[in-house]
């Protein structure tokens, strides 16, 4: 059985030693939770993974919440999430404080001048990667296009786009597809 301390330490390691976002944590999570401690079976791990991707929020924090809760209840959930994000917060905090002192430094400015266009490319690339797996057809391609144009050109909040799409999807699933299924 997992102790509160063990849970904290496991998620602390997972949060501290993976660079490059939440999804980069998956291999280490699997190693810690399934292989090393045997808190979860491989199948349970995959199920929680799918759930955490489905739910809103930050994937890694969702993972930590559910695993912590499953093993040690609410306290386990709190401790796991805190363990998971503590080190990332402290590191960024240190950088945020440090960056203020080097602002305007010609070396730092030169480095970031090179990096900025690459960041834009790194955000643009998943658009095309995701488009491949999202089953875009000629009947639904207007949804991503319209969403992008509304936000980009008209300054509509992405939150509205998510809200309207969610409600629209629900109504379509309930009344159009639901009817087709019963008739």
């Amino acid at each position: 059985m997992a102790s509160i301390g063990q849970l904290f330490w496991s998620f602390f390691k997972i949060g501290t030693f993976t660079i490059g976002g939440g999804y980069a944590m998956i291999p280490l999570m699997e190693k810690e939770l399934v292989d090393r401690h045997r808190w979860l079976t491989e199948e349970e791990f995959m199920e929680i993974l799918a759930l955490s991707q489905t739910m809103p929020g930050i994937f890694a924090a969702n993972m930590a919440t559910h695993v912590g809760w499953r093993l040690r209840g609410i306290l386990g959930a709190v401790v796991s999430v805190i363990g998971n994000i503590l080190m990332p917060i402290l590191i960024i905090l240190a950088l945020a404080m440090g960056l203020r002192y080097v602002q305007g430094n010609p070396v730092v400015e030169a480095i970031f001048k090179g990096v900025r266009p690459v960041v834009v490319a790194l955000i643009a690339a998943p658009v095309f990667r995701m488009a491949k797996t999202a089953h875009i057809t000629r009947y639904n391609f207007w949804i991503p296009v319209l969403a992008a144009l509304l936000i980009w050109l008209l300054g509509v909040s992405p939150i509205w786009v998510i809200l309207v799409t969610g409600i629209g999807g629900f109504l379509y699933g309930k009344f159009v597809e639901g009817k087709e299924a019963t008739s």
């Binding site: 739910m55 994000i85 960024i92």
Partner: protein
Amino acid sequence: MIFWKLFYTFCKIGIFNFGGGYAMLALIQNEVVEKNGWMTSAEFTDIVATSQITPGPIGINVATYAGYTAVINAGYDPAFAVFGAFLSSFSVILLPFIAMLLVGRYLMSHKDNPIVKTVLTYLKLAVIGLIAASALLLVSPETFGTFSANPLQFCLSIALFAAAFFASLKWKTSPILLILLAGVVGFVVYYLI
């Protein structure tokens, strides 16, 4: 009041985020750069780059940085800014945390529900648009420079963008490597030469 605004804004960003870190960047950019002006586009890009080469989820990294910067820019002491950083990160996970506890188990046993599936299919399509808008909004003089002010920087920016885009899609080159390489190029071209 800046602290209430940070709390409210990052709660919203957390609960409306479907579809991973890049989708969250679109939400954060809209709220933090466009709406509240807590940081500039260039600062936002810099912190995204930094968060790619440091540990942790991008959402937490950017929330922490935005919380710190917003409080400093509002004229408070750094001690309050540290509080702002923790507050923003706490807010971004608060509502999803509650949602996971309340409906996580229910959703797990209903994951094959056709309505849930339809909603997720459409959300996924919208999220593609969200991320595309985020990238388009970042194509600006702040990130690429301008041809009239500095033709060399502008052309190099386009070349770096194209190379990173191609490498990322075609070879799945790690973002960490791409950012480090671009940093070296920037250092050599803009500082040494």
